[in-house]
Symmetry: C2
Subunit: 345 residues, 2 copies
């Protein structure tokens, strides 16, 4: 890890001197961290689903952001590793409980915990994962520990609030949910956790508050872009690469960015058609997907959404640019941003 | 609050000098703390069930223990109030999720959250309560904050493990579950939280580790006695005072202390009868209760269980006696113990 004092830092098992890392270095480090963590404890009925969940993989974006943010301010990576494990464990806990609430049978192509072990296991193993996240967070002392833990906890509360708002949308019509409300929901459900991960990494490095604030805003924009991209992929992803059938949000009658943005740019008649398609319980699911997508195409929805995503990525890049830190150390964060811009899955 | 330095301490809104408090003072203080806490936030679908749960009341034993332990070592009560709120919020979170998993329709005579608002609300409002408990715990800085939070979190993990072991018992026969296993389960599910509450109160007062250890053991014995008392009341409570129908554990085929202890002291033939009563799906529930209770009476189970409970209370009192602290300040803890010894509900 790059270090202005030239003292070097522990990277894996070796000291590396004055060397900025690439995104891949961080991703590999995070993978190694999780490889070492096994939950083979008793009662195994409680810990098996946790071990299973944490080994399903995923993009590991949050811990990677946390470590890269730590390095940005010459942090000692070792100190931040517990928090990196903690933030990813928390994220996976929220997925576990979300899948139970949303009755999603698959996650990363594998059966979800509630389908494999039942609802009660999903509840209790999830609760335990939340506590295990805290165990990781408490592993390392820090002069700013209370700030770090407060940031983690307030983020956790926002994620719960975001999930509740998302569930509330289910009971409302597409015309009743505004795009602003939707953006506020995904800010809480998705973006604050990316922003929080960055902030925590920087807090471990004792970064100046003004820089942490910019980093946090970078994370919010990145998170919004990430979620909008997700919504776009649901409609326009390449099934072979995406790994899932497209149109699932339409099948689930989910209020996502696509349908709410479509309502904004379409004319009155198209709006009524869309509302009817989302309101008709008798229409065949695949027929609904086909007709909704045709309407999206007719109004040129895709480029409009891509523009909104581009705007968030641009804003994210701007925040990152304004941070007072070594440009070489920003590179992995820029690289991660660039990867997400073009992501196909 | 008594203070060796004669400086007095803030109690409610007034300073009280050199005055040891009674159990009732602490109970009233805890009630006042909760009266001030309202969860009237948005989204209300998330917070209404939390507000409801925290206002259902209960014995408030854990926060009371925490405050009394804090005073025992001349702690500044103000500092420990956040943790008192936190420990009770956590306890109520576990009840909320337990009721969902156990499908218990009533809690403190009122409908449980999942019956009132549905399973998903129970999951998510519960998760949020766990985070709100952390918010309370993080309210007050302390030189020993990391120790305090570690104690809280490791306790939380043990409570989850205890709940899992309890659920595991459901799939096993009464002959398969040993009394030792049962005691270990209730130690985790119930006793460690009482012990943890005491330890946290003492940590806020920066008590010596040796004294904290004795206090923790006092809490474990108290917790075991409390749970055994609960099991006894399920069989022998006075319905009018107890507020619930007795024999519910028998109806639910729950492995409790009564049935496991009965198996230990009865003869072979009685043991087979008991096993059959717990194994026969066709027998009428009320008939099962009647026959099991008759067998309990025939083997003199009640005095034997009362003896075991008395033994735990005696051990608790002994631990308390050995703690190096002002006897006047121990009085509320002795009083609480005495209240629990004779409790009828």
């Amino acid at each position: 890890m790059h270090n202005k004092n030239g003292k070097g830092a522990l990277w894996g098992n070796q000291y590396i001197f004055n060397m900025a890392h690439t995104l891949n270095d961080y991703l590999r480090e995070v993978e190694n961290l999780f490889k070492e963590e096994r939950f083979v404890f008793e009662p195994h009925e409680l810990y098996d689903p946790i071990d299973y969940t944490l080994r399903l993989g995923g993009k590991r974006i949050r811990p990677t952001l946390l470590l890269a943010a730590n390095a940005l301010f010459d942090g000692h990576l070792e100190e931040a590793k517990g928090a990196a494990l903690g933030i990813e464990t928390f994220h996976n806990f929220t997925l576990l409980h979300d899948d139970l609430m949303d009755r999603s049978p698959l996650r990363r192509g594998q059966p979800t915990v509630y389908t494999k072990w039942g609802d009660n296991t999903a509840v209790l193993s999830g609760d335990t994962m939340f506590a295990l996240a805290w165990r990781y967070f408490l592993r390392q002392p820090s002069p700013r520990l209370r700030e770090i833990l407060n940031c983690f906890n307030e983020t956790a509360i926002e994620v719960c609030e975001g999930q509740q708002r998302d569930m509330n949308f289910e009971k409302r019509t597409i015309e009743d949910v505004s795009l602003d409300e939707y953006m506020d929901m995904i800010r809480q459900k998705t973006a604050v956790l990316l922003a929080g991960a960055l902030k925590i990494g920087a807090l471990y490095a004792n970064a100046p508050d003004a820089e942490i604030e910019k980093l946090y805003r970078f994370g919010l924009h990145l998170g919004l872009a990430f979620q909008l991209q997700d919504d776009l992929l649901d409609g326009y992803g390449d099934t072979a690469v995406f790994g899932k059938k497209t149109g699932q949000d339409i099948r689930d009658l989910k209020k996502n960015y696509l349908v709410l943005r479509a309502l904004q740019i379409c004319d009155k008649q198209q709006g009524e058609t869309l509302a009817k398609l989302y309101d008709d319980p008798d229409i065949d699911e695949e027929e609904r997907v086909k007709q909704v997508m045709a309407l999206y195409d007719a109004i040129g929805l895709k480029p409009s959404v891509e523009e909104a995503i581009g705007e968030e990525f641009r804003a994210a890049g701007e925040c990152l640019g304004r941070i007072d830190a070594d440009e070489a150390l920003k590179a992995p964060l820029r690289e991660l941003t660039a990867t997400l811009v073009g992501r196909k899955k």
